[in-house]
């Protein structure tokens, strides 16, 4: 990695001093700050989803429990699923997209910094809207999958479903805007010399994730619009008595829903593929195979959706086709796992916290993958679907997979983001508590599912043999709580401590470790030129050892976009349009007109504001 000054001098010079205060966060268009906003917000939502899960686990801790009413239980399990998927794992991934993608590809920011701010504000408002149902005692209660026709006015008369379908539409807009942004960023803002096949694996997997977001979210948007028309305007898309077909919802939902699973896991694949080589001190094994298997998983992801619907009785041919395509996905997934082990093989493993979490990820993800193959078989799935076996399966994939990998990413990039090293001993304690707690919580679910316990039940009777398993699971859930309290303590302690992180604490291979921790607003004083897949390792090899600590520079002459509050105004407009739709019976069309006016004001001001 040689560096050349390709930067042109600009007349428009402004200081890159530290800007603080609430206003600076509201108007920020800096991808790093937006990344931190995403991370902080998503972590709060993650804790809320976790508390919801704990309440569910308390209720299920013993048979015929009355800790939660069935109404409350249904709201909590719906919000737990919706929150973890849309408000925790996706935006935690988005935190890494935001913060890391520009750094990893040697860019100064994302392609559209203001669109990026807009995405965040829409996400925040959507998340708040979704949760505001709790304030009205009417949180969504129809499950994160919202199967029609239970969601119809007839069977869900309250506001519960409205909060859900509107909240998801708002969140969809945030995801789509971010999807366009990062797609273009990766294609167009790579440093000179960074060809596609030299991109860090996290960038590759994030890129594929954006493709999935862009192609999957419009489908759920349409499904939700049809539901909205049914509920608000009295159409009958999903109403059987008028000829509508609830199965259409299932198909549209899972055409989105299955790619969504890969939207949740592919960024984690990327994070692990960044960390493993660094701590194995050895390049990623089978880079090209990793790229292609990721792309193949994403592509196949659009052809397997009906495996969520084997129990609907689609007929033998459809079952066979979707079963075989599903099993096919195991092959590229297996290739990824083998290549990770291949990366470690013959390496020199540096047993640091990020690596611990990566290893936990691989070990747990293997189990999630294997149980996945078990219900790729429709006859077996007829016993397993809608039972705790499936709950076990996808928690091994999404918690054992995504959350472990995201945590690994947090420990790995924390020094870069905040200039401070998280405590290793607390980190390892966190890991062991999480690994044990996770397995205590979710491993018994395999058994209790096979023993006949269905999902989404607010209680279960004595005498079916579920008691002991559920007790262990509840105990495990509390261990998980302790694990995350350790993490929070680690963060607080570190934040209070001195700024002790060097630019390159882990002997990293990628560009972000060449600049100070935390990076300056413009990231790279000089835009780097890339000659290989592990540019920093190459440079270090050329110079015979560690590089000197990079110095902070003034950055005068580097043009960065101005802060702006118009993206936030536009985001408020977006949310207002949906709220006005929901309040149409009360506010009338005037509400919609005002909301659209706010939206247009925001968009026009933003569009005509100088960069």
């Amino acid at each position: 990695m040689a560096t050349t000054a390709v930067e042109h001098a600009h007349a428009d010079v402004h200081a890159h001093g530290s800007k603080t205060g609430l206003w600076s966060w509201i108007t920020t268009v800096d991808h790093k700050r937006i990344g931190i906003l995403y991370g902080a917000t998503a972590f709060v939502f993650f804790l809320m989803g976790g508390i919801e899960a704990l309440l569910l686990r308390i209720q299920l801790g013993r048979p015929d429990n009355t800790f939660l009413s069935p109404e409350m239980y249904n709201q909590l399990f719906t919000m737990h699923g919706t929150t973890m998927i849309f408000l925790a794992i996706m935006p935690l991934s988005a935190m890494f997209f935001n913060y890391m993608i520009p750094l990893l590809i040697g860019a100064r920011d994302v392609a559209f910094p203001r669109l990026n701010a807009f995405s965040y504000w829409v996400f925040l408002l959507g998340g708040l809207f979704l949760n505001s149902g709790f304030l009205f005692g009417a949180a969504p209660n129809q499950g994160w999958f919202g199967y029609a026709n239970l969601t119809s006015n007839q069977y869900s008369p309250g506001l519960n479903v409205d909060f859900w379908m509107i909240g998801l539409q708002i969140l969809g807009i945030a995801s789509l805007a971010a999807g366009v942004n990062f797609f273009v960023t990766v294609l167009n803002l790579r440093a000179p010399g960074m060809k596609l096949m030299r991109m860090p694996m996290f960038v590759w997997m994030s890129f594929i994730t954006q493709v999935l977001i862009l192609l999957a979210f419009p489908v759920i948007t349409v499904a939700l619009i049809l539901l909205m028309f049914d509920r608000f305007f009295g159409s009958h898309f999903y109403v059987p008595s008028a000829g509508g077909d609830p199965l259409l919802w299932q198909h549209l939902f899972w055409i989105f829903g299955h790619p969504e699973v890969y939207i949740l896991i592919l960024p984690s694949f990327g994070i692990v593929s960044e960390i493993l080589p660094v701590f194995s001190r050895k390049p990623l094994f089978g880079y090209a195979a990793m790229v292609f298997s990721g792309a193949f998983i994403a592509f196949l992801g659009f052809g397997v959706w009906s495996h969520h619907m084997f129990s609907t009785g689609m007929g033998p041919i459809a079952d066979t086709v979707f079963s075989l395509s599903t099993m096919l996905i195991a092959i590229p997934t297996g290739v990824k796992i083998f290549n990770w082990i291949g990366t470690m093989w013959g390496g020199s493993l540096q047993m640091k916290t990020p690596l611990y979490f990566c290893l936990g990820f691989i070990a747990m993800f293997i189990m999630g993958g294997l149980s996945g193959v078990m219900h790729a078989s429709p006859p077996a799935d007829l016993q397993q679907t809608d039972t705790y076996f499936v709950v076990a399966h996808f928690h091994y994939v999404l918690f054992g997979g995504s959350i472990f990998a995201l945590t690994a990413g947090a420990y790995y990039w924390w020094p870069k983001m905040f200039g401070r090293m998280l405590s290793e001993s607390l980190g390892k304690l966190h890991f062991w508590l999480m690994l044990i707690g996770f397995n205590l919580t979710f491993f018994p679910m395999h058994f209790v599912g096979l023993l006949g316990m269905p999902r989404r039940v607010y209680t279960y009777p004595k005498g079916l043999g579920f008691e002991i398993y559920n007790q262990v699971e509840t105990a495990g859930a509390f261990l998980l709580l302790i694990a995350f309290l350790v993490f929070i303590w680690n963060v607080i302690r570190t934040t209070r401590g001195p700024a002790n992180a060097p630019a390159d604490p882990w002997n990293g291979a990628t560009l972000e470790w060449a600049i100070p921790s935390p990076p300056q607003e413009f990231n790279f004083a000089e835009v780097p030129v890339v000659h290989s897949r592990d540019p920093l390792w190459e440079t270090k090899r050329e110079r015979g050892g560690q590089l000197p600590e990079p110095v902070r520079v003034s950055g005068a002459g580097i043009h960065m976009p101005h802060p702006s509050y118009w993206p936030a105004v536009a985001a408020i407009g977006v949310a207002a349009v949906f709220v006005a739709l929901m309040m149409l019976p009360k506010l009338g069309p005037a509400g919609v007109v005002v909301a659209v006016a706010i939206l247009f004001l925001g968009v026009f001001k933003w569009a005509f504001e100088p960069a």
Partner: protein
Amino acid sequence: MSFRPALRRVVRQAPFLLIALVLAACGRDYPQSTLDPHSDITRMVDGVFMNTVWWALGVFILVEGALVWAIFRFRGKPDDPEPRQTHGNTTIEILWTAIPALILAMISVPTVRAIFKTYEEPSGAEVVRVNVKGHQWWWEFSYPQYGVTSANELHVPVGKTVFLEMDAFDVIHSFWMPQLGAKRDVFPNRKTTLWFRADSAGFYPGQCAEFCGTQHGRMAFHVAAETPAEFDAYIKGLQATGTPPAPPAAPDTAKRVGTAGVTTAALAAQTPAAAPAADTVAGSKLFAAKGCVGCHSLNAVKFSKGLIGPNLANVGARRYIAAGTLLNTDENLAHWIQHPWSVKHGVLMPELGLSDADARTLAAYLRTHTGK
């Protein structure tokens, strides 16, 4: 370091623990277990599943083993020399693409065969046909061949093929009999099917498996698989409710008890007490006056279609009430009639504000309806 030997001990015992768990899963402590098949269909499904399990277990041991081996074998220190920088190995990568593909082929062949088997449509005079209808939150079973209907307790003959044609009254449910027929969703706008042939008598619990609203958690049912003679008697009893007024029948304490689910004590508790005739008259009046008739029929043959409550023609002899939730004792029955929402909050059966005496009278009256 006492940790290592302890770990080794756990690792050595793990297979035994696992086997113990699996064995326990097959036993009678788990009446709703999918691992304890009692019909041809569930045995086949179990076979497909266990085939996958063994392959998965092999893969699991190899891959997790390789991972653990790599973790211990390749542990390094910061000042170790840089390891050899390998970027990949085409041969080995092709190999580990091909081998999983072969394993998947081994799994998919029995899978596809079983898929087609589950969709077969049995025919012939011997086949017992049952129409299943899911309601919020109970199950309706009717026998088109015999012209009778019942609820929440499905009686089938052992050794005969049972063919279920299913749909839903309101929203999507899923009919799940873990030990007899696996599961299939039921829809308000289409028919779905299941078939099975029970191979051993028993009283098997089942449950709705698709989230269907507030009381999804307590939408259970039971399948009584009995000898053909017992099954015929059951049907005849239901048919007899078509010619009321039926004299209050003596309780049938000799009724067969299944292998699973019900203990002797529970059985004793649910033995119906003979109701005095005066109560029957009072109960009958209450049944009409309190509006029970608006939703429930006491006749398994002639009843108006579209009633939203379960048919109660043989409720006095059912082992459970409230969709498989409560044991059918006099006390429970009265409590359920009086305070349905304290048992199943949000259930469609309203709180009628019955007095204790009324509830007891109604329960006693219902007890006389045994379908015998």
